[in-house]
Each structure stands twice: as C-alpha cells, then as structure tokens.
Symmetry: C2
Subunit: 181 residues, 2 copies
C-alpha cells in the first residue's frame, strides 16, 4: 500500500509528541512507518520541508480571531491563542521557529496579522513591521518558557515563580500598544 502524505504528517506528530524534535529525523520517520526512506522523500524532500509541514499543521490550530472585535483586540486574542497552541505541543515553539527560519512554511498566520493591522487603518509597511514584532516576540517568549519547563523537569534549571500567564499578557500588551501607537 502506497504511503500518503497525511500518514507521514501523523507519524511525524507521534514522534514529536513522544520523543521531541531531536528525534524527528527522516530515518526515524521511515522506521515509524515501516517503509524505505525513498517512499518518504517522494512526498517530502528533506527535513526542513517536514518541519514546515508540521509547523503549518500546528499553526492551523490557532483559532481565527472574531472579526466583530476591534482590530487590536483581535491581535491580542491571536497572540494569546498562538502561545497556548505552541505550549500544547511538545517542542512546538522550536518547530515553528525552525520552520519560519527556513522560509518554507506556508502558514497564513503572518498574512492574517498584516490584514488585521491594516484593518485598523495602518499602512502596509507598519503592518509588516507589526507582524515581525508580534510573531518574533510570541515565538521567542514561548520558546523560552517551553525550553525552561523541560530543563526544570530534569532538574537542569531552577523553578520559576509568579503568574506565567499574567507576565506574558503584560509583555504582549506592550507589543500591541506599540502597534497601536
């Protein structure tokens, strides 16, 4: 039976969830699916393309903000939901960071941010800079939280105290205030 693209994606997600990003290799994926590596390469040419698929699928889980709310509240909702989505997937922030760095991802998330900022009456140039500010902030912040959580679990980092959600929201509010300004 020929292997399908969605089988590969599902296997990649199983490996990511059970073992983490370091174990997500094309070789491991072939073993998980019990096929030759060539059967995978026919669908997905290399590791960067695989990460882009996994990241796109993860980002597609971020809910679309309600267009009935003010544009800056939509951005706030998106910034909050993006963090929640990334934290819900093991190594989620790192997968998305690596995928975006490859410029191979096809997620519409960046485009949505640009559209929302423009709907507030801002120029396209401001909307693009806002997208860069917001997404690098959220992904960078979440990468830090997720990496710290793994280290702390293994006793390799001291625990952090305080309200993590409130601290995130305060920093997110600052970025959004800058987009509004």
């Amino acid at each position: 039976m020929a292997i399908q693209r969605q089988d590969i994606l599902a296997a990649a997600q199983r490996i990511l969830t059970a073992h983490g990003l370091a174990d997500l290799t094309m070789r491991r994926l072939a073993a998980e699916l019990d096929v030759q590596a060539s059967a995978i390469y026919w669908h997905i040419p290399h590791k960067q393309a695989l990460l882009a698929e996994v990241a796109d699928d993860l980002l597609a889980r971020v809910p679309e903000p309600s267009s009935r709310r003010r544009w800056d509240r939509q951005l706030h909702q998106l910034g909050t939901d993006l963090r929640t989505t990334l934290l819900a997937q093991r190594d989620g922030a790192e997968v998305v960071a690596a995928s975006r760095a490859s410029s191979l991802d096809t997620s519409h998330l960046g485009k949505r941010v640009v559209e929302i900022v423009e709907s507030g009456g801002h120029t396209h140039a401001h909307a693009v800079a806002s997208r860069d500010a917001l997404l690098h902030f959220v992904i960078g912040y979440t990468f830090d939280e997720q990496t710290h959580a793994v280290m702390a679990e293994h006793g390799a980092a001291p625990a952090r105290f305080g309200d993590a959600d409130a601290a995130y929201t305060a920093a997110l509010d600052i970025v959004i205030a800058g987009i509004r300004a």
Copy 2:
C-alpha cells in the same frame, strides 16, 4: 598544570566559532583542552552552566548605552547593539536563548533594561514587562535571521531579499513605542 576557568571559556568559544553549538559538548571541550572531563566538571558542573558562561561573556560585549541620551533612545541603542552582538557570534542567538531559558545566566542585561525603563518614570511592573517584551523580541528575531542564514548558505532555504537592518529597526521601533505608551 591545572586548568583555569578562563581556559575553558576560551576553548568553548573556539569550538562554538569553528563548529557551532551542536558540537559544544563537555566531551568535546575536554578533548580540545587535552584534559580529563573531571578537570572541567570541577569548574563547570554541566552543559547548561557552560552555556550560561558563554552567553554571559557574549552579552558582556553589548556596549553600555550612553546615559546622556533619552531613556527610549538608550533602549533603541541597546536593542540595536544586542542584535549586532548576537549576529557577530556563530549561533549567538541560540546560545543566549538556551542560556536564558535555563535561568542560570547572570548577565546584567535584563536588569539594565529594567533600570533604563524606570529612569523614564515608569513603574517597576511596567519595566519588567518591557524587559520581557524587548529581549524576547530581539533574541527571537535574531535567532530567526541567524538560523535562516545558515540554512540559505547550505541551500536549504530560499534567499531573503530587502534591507534586513531597516526591517529590524522598524519592528524594534514598534516594541519601543509600546514601552513608551
């Protein structure tokens, strides 16, 4: 001859510059210094502590912004110089991201950001949130640029066009406008 802490740091920097973060292991470090691993563990107990030392040393190269300038111009200078410093060191952003996530770093950079924002008449709570917004943005942005550059060099990512410095400055200006707001 007993090995000194500064010899270990210098060797770690040589490995990082020549081979990258993936090759910076305690074992590799012992081989580079031609000593038993135990001689290193006596100074530096584990990989996280090593990364924290390397990151602290890197962050110490960020110039102190001139206190004769307005507080928000100082932040802008710091945000610009931090990116330049990270980009100048192979895998610099990843080293700093990993080190900050371990909460083992002792760099004063975060404290300086808090002090500068407070000097603008803002509350401590706002200054702390500003630190989180600014540093996660800068490190996340630079991580993306640096990761992309390595991938593009190996033909694993399409080239990016446009003025990278201008794009960064536009996004940095948004974060700082949010701190000012």
